[in-house]
């Protein structure tokens, strides 16, 4: 998600993310202070934490926790219009049942414990202590899981276009990411 300035790159990253989140919830997307210089890490989270959603597929409420860290970097090799870009540095997505019992969690937190992106699956013989390797998981793919697989009801304003919104946002994410799953 490149931009000609640090602020524009940040907007190009956050605006589609919020649009995607609005398919699932009216909750706000909270962002830490704008790192105006250097490669300082910023963080984002939902204003509702955990976010309670009803899964028609499971017939119960699921609770979502969602956090990400990112930094804004400059690449002087790129044209001026796309010199700044946002790079995700860590994420934490977790789904719990209504009692708070963990169902699944997708983590990537280099430098803290296991370095590679991984999945914790509760239940089954492995249990949640194991770190099952994954590619890096986007917020959009997590939202798609909620809406399509778990049959969480989309917000009223996005009943008909949530799939298109998520696909468009995911496509931009894939086009501009600096890593490959």
């Amino acid at each position: 998600m490149p931009g000609s300035t640090r602020a524009k790159a940040r907007d190009a990253f956050l605006a589609p993310l919020k649009r995607s989140l609005s398919c699932v919830t009216p909750a706000q997307l909270l962002v830490s202070r704008f790192a105006r210089a250097g490669d300082e890490v910023e963080a984002l989270a939902l204003s509702e934490d955990p976010l309670c959603l009803r899964s028609a597929r499971l017939g119960r409420v699921v609770q979502l926790q969602l956090r990400q860290q990112f930094r804004i970097l400059k690449d002087d090799r790129e044209p001026r219009s796309s010199r700044w870009h946002v790079s995700t540095c860590a994420y934490f997505y977790q789904l719990d049942d209504e009692s708070g019992r963990e169902l699944a969690a997708w983590h990537w937190h280099p430098g803290v414990g296991v370095d590679y992106p991984h999945l914790h699956m509760s239940g089954g013989p492995l249990g949640k202590a194991f770190h099952l390797p994954t590619g890096r998981v986007s917020i959009e793919s997590l939202l798609s899981l909620l809406l399509s697989e778990l049959a969480v009801k989309p917000t009223r304003s996005h009943e008909k276009d949530w799939d298109a919104i998520l696909r468009a946002s995911e496509r931009r994410f894939i086009e501009h990411r600096r890593w490959h799953a």
Binding site: R19, L30, V31, S32, R67, H109, G113
Partner: protein
Amino acid sequence: MNAITTEPGVIELTRDEGRAMLDQRVRRVLGISLGDFEAAYDAGTLDMSRSDVIGLVLLLPFAR
């Protein structure tokens, strides 16, 4: 709080607002204050095998 993007609903918290938000979440999850959490993080004494701890560590930029 400031709305900061062309898309409504993205809110940038000030350091004080970020600290208040994180203090609330740390107290709810771990039962300690943000100050104690930060001190343990800086001392390297947090139990980083706990996913709830890692989830809170990822929010530290809100407080710093």
